[in-house]
């Protein structure tokens, strides 16, 4: 289950992920790594939500969730 908190991280669909590591290399803050052949957010504090992992993933396995609020 995903916990919606103040610092969410991108969701990774493990069924779509094929372990290609492109996201690991694309991440500017090295927040991603591989575990059991699948990508995961190894360092959630480092994640800046840049979206580069989402953009580079060839199977669209990564999605960032956004919330829309009024300030």
């Amino acid at each position: 289950m995903t916990h919606f908190n103040n610092r969410p991280v991108p969701l990774i669909d493990l069924q779509k992920c094929d372990g290609c590591r492109l996201c690991v290399h694309a991440c500017p803050t090295k927040a991603l790594d591989l575990r059991n052949g699948k990508a995961f957010i190894a360092n959630s504090l480092a994640c800046e939500y840049s979206g580069l992992c989402e953009a580079v993933c060839p199977t669209q396995a990564i999605s960032r969730l956004f919330e829309i609020i009024t300030k």
């Binding site: 969701l11 969730l65 009024t70």
Partner: protein
């Protein structure tokens, strides 16, 4: 023409067309041989949409309207032509039927240069070909910019509407989360274009994207953008 001299009228008209401005006398003579001059009265049709292409037209003097008939039978005026304008050029080079109907709005003098002699001339005179390529390339660039702009603007309006609909008060329990894939799909576009639209709205200071939050800063502003329907 036994002495190779063109009647002043034809020569002057042809010279004013940018396509032909570099041509020498021989070329202009050939051109003139392929040109015919006609006068149309108001309401007369010069060329009909869908008819096979006859050639390139030059409006020497007068006023014309260019229009298309929509599926519902309504006429849509695309533009008007004034003295000196060249039209139907595109059909000549694509061998397509006329793309629109051209009708005279007042008494107009028109030159028609037939397609085949014109094409043959282009083979013989590289400068003519260059001019034509330049004009067409310019048209294409203009159209690309216009399409990009139109497509982005309408996405912006739809995005503004979506944001207003989806926004919830910061104090309310968060329920709705959306991915960029979902948002762009709902807007009938792709994440790339969605991102550009988000950036545009942020530039206008109507929203701010802070990590996972799209914050609405200017509700009224967004309402205005949302109302601009193309």
């Amino acid at each position: 023409m036994s002495n190779g001299k063109l009647p002043p009228k034809a020569h002057n008209i042809l010279k004013t067309v940018s396509y032909f401005s570099d041509l020498d006398l021989n070329a202009l003579t050939s051109l003139e041989g392929a040109a015919s001059r006609r006068i149309y009265n108001a309401e007369q049709i010069i060329l009909l949409e869908g008819d096979p292409c006859s050639g390139l037209y030059i409006l020497e003097k007068g006023w014309l309207k260019v229009s298309k008939i929509g599926i519902d039978g309504r006429e849509q005026i695309l533009k008007t032509l004034k003295s000196g304008d060249v039209f139907n050029a595109l059909s000549v080079f694509t061998d397509a039927p006329n793309q629109a109907t051209v009708t005279a709005l007042e008494s107009s003098t028109i030159w028609l240069i037939q397609r085949d002699p014109l094409l043959k001339l282009i083979e013989e005179y590289p400068s003519l070909a260059n001019h034509v390529i330049g004009e067409l390339a310019g048209k294409v660039q203009y159209l690309i910019r216009m399409v990009e702009d139109l497509s982005l603007r309408s996405v912006e309006a739809r995005l503004a509407r979506l944001l207003l609909e989806q926004a919830q008060d910061a104090s309310v329990q968060r329920q709705r989360w959306a991915t960029q894939a979902e948002m762009s799909s709902r807007l009938g576009t792709v994440p790339d274009v969605l991102n550009r639209a988000l950036r545009k709205l942020a530039e206008k200071k109507m929203i701010r994207v802070e990590r996972h939050q799209i914050q609405i800063l200017d509700k009224e502003g967004l309402k205005t953008v949302a109302q601009t329907i193309e």
